[in-house]
């Protein structure tokens, strides 16, 4: 059950639609500071159901919508779609590919879709139940997280184990 594709539009600095296709193996993202590499990580966390704006480096969830530059106006919604290869059948959907989409409008309205059909956040969570996918803190290591784990006191470190357990 590996990642096939990530599509993002209106999410943070992705004012123009961006598509990444993934192979098995190691994919490296490179580029200058501030260009959007960590925003890709945020997009994956977000589409999988991240509820904490702070963990996406924002103050409120609307901060993930492209808020304009000196040359471009802000956009009105953010949308990310993550597509998985399901040849192994691990995801309980009987489809060879499974895509999850999340949309957030500036009005605050929010939508989730599985294979383009509207659903609830809870359905996304149940879909990935027991697969090791989710906003699980041990398989997504954000920039600065290693330092944070080192400085965490011994009680905070438990979270890493609790998520894995």
């Amino acid at each position: 059950m590996h990642l096939k594709r990530l599509e993002a539009f209106g999410f943070k600095s992705f004012a123009d639609k961006l598509v990444f296709d993934f192979e098995r193996g190691v994919t490296a993202f490179v580029g200058p500071n501030g260009c959007g590499k960590s925003n890709v990580v945020d997009a994956v966390k977000w589409v999988l159901g991240e509820q904490s704006a702070k963990s996406l480096r924002g103050d409120e969830m609307a901060d993930v919508i492209f808020n304009g530059t000196s040359q471009r106006r802000p956009l009105n919604f953010a949308e990310v779609t993550l597509t998985f290869d399901n040849a192994s059948g691990k995801l309980p959907l009987g489809a060879p590919e499974v895509s999850v989409t999340r949309r957030l409008y500036r009005s605050g309205e929010s939508e989730y879709l599985i294979n383009k059909a509207l659903c609830r956040l809870r359905d996304v969570r149940e879909l990935f139940w027991d697969t090791g996918v989710g906003t699980s803190s041990y398989s997504i290591i954000e920039q600065g997280r290693v330092v944070a784990l080192l400085e965490a006191n011994s009680k905070d470190r438990r979270i890493l184990f609790e998520e894995a357990a």
Partner: protein, 165 residues
């Protein structure tokens, strides 16, 4: 719940010494649950001894040694609870050349069970990747994806020159 945590903890403990020894080329590492507390509350203490050294506490280790220790712990958790994919954002930043190699060799060890997305500024890490995506911002504030070949990176072409290629 208590036994599930205990089980996970014991598994991670076992793998931690292995991943640590592999990343450090020797030495030993251990995990301890704080004494006198309920298993569901106790903090987790890390013991790490790089080869030939006798550090009295993890705090005295160097920045790079602490990072390698935490990477070993994360891979140990990953070994006990595999996930389909793992995202690592700039974990190699504080590492010297030979530690970057050992980190990347460990990533390759895990490829049979997981797909990896890594974000890096490090040329050696880029050379280990199967696919390289460049993310740049020819227009300020708007991310753009570009194809990158490792040869362009090696020649030290600045990202905006690669973008025009």
């Amino acid at each position: 719940c208590r036994s599930l945590f205990q089980e996970t903890f014991e598994a991670v403990k076992l793998h931690f010494n292995e991943t640590f020894r592999k990343l450090f080329g020797g030495g030993k590492a251990d995990l301890l649950l704080e004494e006198g507390e309920d298993v569901l509350e106790a903090g987790i203490e890390i013991i790490a001894r790089p080869p030939g050294k006798e550090p009295r506490s993890v705090s005295l280790l160097s920045g790079g040694e602490k990072t390698m220790t935490m990477i070993a712990l994360l891979f140990a958790v990953f070994r006990s609870r595999p996930a389909p994919f793992c995202i690592l954002d700039e974990v190699d930043a504080p590492l010297d050349e030979s530690n970057v190699d050992r980190f990347n060799l460990m990533v390759r060890d895990f490829l049979d069970q997981s797909q990896f997305l890594v974000i890096t500024h490090n040329k050696s890490t880029m050379s280990y990747a199967d696919v390289l995506y460049g993310i740049t911002m020819p227009e300020p504030g708007v991310s753009k994806r570009i194809a990158i070949r490792f040869e362009d990176v090696e020649k030290h072409l600045p990202m905006d020159e690669i973008a025009r290629a």
